[in-house]
């Protein structure tokens, strides 16, 4: 593979940094090189947060922020319009948005209509997290959806990465949320 770069947008408290770390662990478990890092800043609840993950078959030397992502994950739709979340997104890239609304209702249909079919998906990750984890933390569910949409990772790796970060019942709940999102995106939108 050539290097695959993911940029994650969310707000402080939504596990944006943890999501990138879990993504890197999942890729590592598949024998790949992966580099996850936050957009460095003083972390505050609710403030916009960006994190990054690079995945490659060879060691990664590059240390710049991801300028041209292959995939963008938006954990919080209130960032749309406030932060240029799709900046630099590759034309054949992927987009995952955490929402129960449609792309059209979100006002994204026109902006993303050139993207390949199936590359842009909306997932109700917060609702899945509330149902399975009991807390509105959408990160694990979005990773499940990411594996489903991109085919870059096996679900088993995502599950193992989630369990690496979250033990016991919290881990179980997050895995269930991720599985539900993975199954959800398997059905064409």
């Amino acid at each position: 593979m050539t290097m695959f770069q993911v940029r994650l947008h969310g707000r402080g408290g939504q596990g944006v940094v943890t999501a990138a770390e879990m993504l890197s662990i999942a890729a590592f478990l598949e024998g790949r090189h992966a580099q996850a890092f936050p957009n460095f800043g003083s972390e505050r609840m609710g403030a916009p947060v960006v994190s990054f993950c690079r995945i490659d078959d060879k060691p990664i030397r590059l240390r710049e922020p991801i300028l041209e992502p292959d995939a963008v994950i938006v954990q919080d739709v209130t960032l749309l319009g406030a932060v240029p979340v799709f900046q630099g997104l590759k034309p054949k890239g992927y987009v995952l948005v955490n929402s129960t609304k449609t792309l059209k209702e979100l006002g994204l249909a026109d902006a993303l209509d050139k993207m390949p079919t199936g590359h842009v998906r909306v997932v109700g990750a917060t609702e899945l997290a509330v149902r399975h984890v009991g807390r509105p933390v959408p990160n694990a569910a979005l990773l499940g959806a990411f594996a489903g949409v991109t085919g870059l990772l096996h679900f088993a790796s995502v599950e193992a990465a989630i369990r690496d970060k979250f033990k016991g019942a919290v881990g179980d709940g997050n895995v269930k949320a991720a599985r539900a999102a993975f199954d959800d995106v398997a059905v064409p939108a």
Binding site: S24, A34, Q35, F40
Partner: protein, 415 residues
């Protein structure tokens, strides 16, 4: 064992494998996750026979480290940024007394203005304090350098600062090889102190020395650094034999053979630079890269040898000496006296400004055309600077610069 792990945590694991007997920490910002993880290891018993001392300031952290080391204990601490400045007096004491303390510096900018992000200003502020200063290019090297640092420090009885870029390395999750305990034990012998306080056989460490011997004490400190230039390559080789990988040494060279233009840098910037010069080589000549893993002592002769065929040397450094230029460049110019080449200084990545491959390539294209100024600030927002200078020319009471520039950025964006 291969692990996908955060840089800070990996360093904590490496430190624990070195069996320190005292770890002092002031775990409040600016700090890294390293001491947090060390504390956890002591509590869970993963790290045994180690006293973890929570102190009340950075000054206390290094002072307790000095006491512990003087008592003959293998001692570790970590800091960053303003924390290093606050321990400044103790920094000089540790080296002046010749105590083999190992300290991680998670490199960050120094205020004012307040800025928590990465650059090398903190390390540069202590560059002449008599510590050996090692810089890690990657997290694997950061981890490995800590294991080497204890051996080097104890062999020479000299404190060592292991510098790793704050956030860029300390907060990055990557695939790293964590050595096993037996291999580290084989590489790092138990600490036999050159001096240790012992009530049964008393002597003083830290006697007052007047003009009759002060110069000689300082000369010996200089000589110790020169000895390090011999010992570091030996430890590098021995590490390679024990662990099967290259880490540390005096500096790393990349595509330097035959290159007329060579970029010299320190720390994690080297990775992005290597990608940048490789991409640039598709349209022009191959530019070489040297990254210093040892900054103090400065490997003057070795660098001169490595650069003797270069015609253009560009030093990309993450700190600025206002009114003078670049600090690493000054050292390098001294090393290259008489060599037929010029040395240009590029100041980059201050206060966490991302250093991108496109920016580096555009700077290198200018350098290859001979258009680079002697002192160049990468990605400097000239408009922002000029507007502030214009304000200052118009009046005297123009207000705080930081505030003015933040307002300017809000008005003009990043143009």
């Amino acid at each position: 064992m291969l692990k996908q792990i955060e840089g800070s945590r990996a360093v904590a694991e490496a430190v624990a494998l070195c069996r320190p007997e005292v770890i002092c920490a002031y775990p409040i910002t600016p700090q890294t996750h390293i001491v947090e993880a060390c504390g956890e290891f002591v509590k869970t018993g993963q790290l045994q026979n180690c006293e973890y001392v929570n102190v009340e300031s950075e000054f206390a952290a290094l002072s307790v480290a000095i006491g512990a080391s003087a008592a003959g204990a293998r001692t570790y601490t970590a800091t960053a940024s303003q924390g290093l400045l606050f321990m400044a007096e103790a920094v000089y004491n540790a080296s002046g007394l010749g105590l083999p303390i190992v300290m991680t510096l998670g490199n960050r900018a120094i205020g004012a203005p307040i800025n928590i992000w990465n650059d090398h200003s903190d390390a540069m502020s202590m560059r002449d304090a008599g510590w050996i200063m090692l810089f890690a290019e990657t997290n694997q090297e950061a981890l490995d350098l800590h294991i080497q640092a204890f051996r080097l420090a104890e062999q020479l009885s000299c404190p060592i600062m292991v510098c790793m870029d704050g956030f860029i390395l300390t907060h990055a999750y990557e695939r790293l090889e964590i050595p096993d305990q037996a291999a580290v034990d084989a590489f790092l012998p138990p600490f036999v102190p050159r001096q240790a306080l012992d009530p049964a056989d008393p002597y003083s460490i830290g006697a007052m020395v007047g003009p009759e011997a002060f110069t000689e004490v300082r000369y010996l400190a200089h000589d110790k650094q020169l000895q390090a230039l011999e010992v570091i390559p030996e430890i590098h080789q021995s590490f390679k034999e024990q662990f099967g990988r290259e880490s540390g040494g005096l500096f790393h060279t990349y595509q330097v053979e035959g290159a007329a233009t060579v970029v010299v840098t320190m720390g994690s910037l080297a990775g992005t630079l290597k990608d940048a010069v490789d991409e640039l080589a598709q349209e022009g000549p191959q530019v070489g890269v040297i990254s210093l893993s040892c900054y103090r002592p400065f490997p003057r002769t070795e660098l001169r040898h490595a650069l003797e065929h270069a015609r253009r040397v560009i030093v990309v450094e993450k700190a600025v000496a206002p009114g003078a230029g670049g600090v690493v460049s000054m050292d390098l110019r001294m090393a290259l006296q008489g060599v037929d080449c010029y040395v240009k200084t590029v100041i980059a990545g201050l206060g966490g400004r991302p250093v991108t491959s496109p920016s580096l390539q555009s700077m290198l294209r200018r350098a290859l055309k001979g258009e680079l100024a002697d002192l160049h600030f990468l990605d400097l927002n000239r408009g922002m600077v000029d507007r502030e200078l214009a304000r200052q020319r118009r009046g005297i009471a123009t207000g705080p610069v930081a505030e003015n520039l933040l307002k300017d950025a809000a008005t003009h964006g990043a143009d």
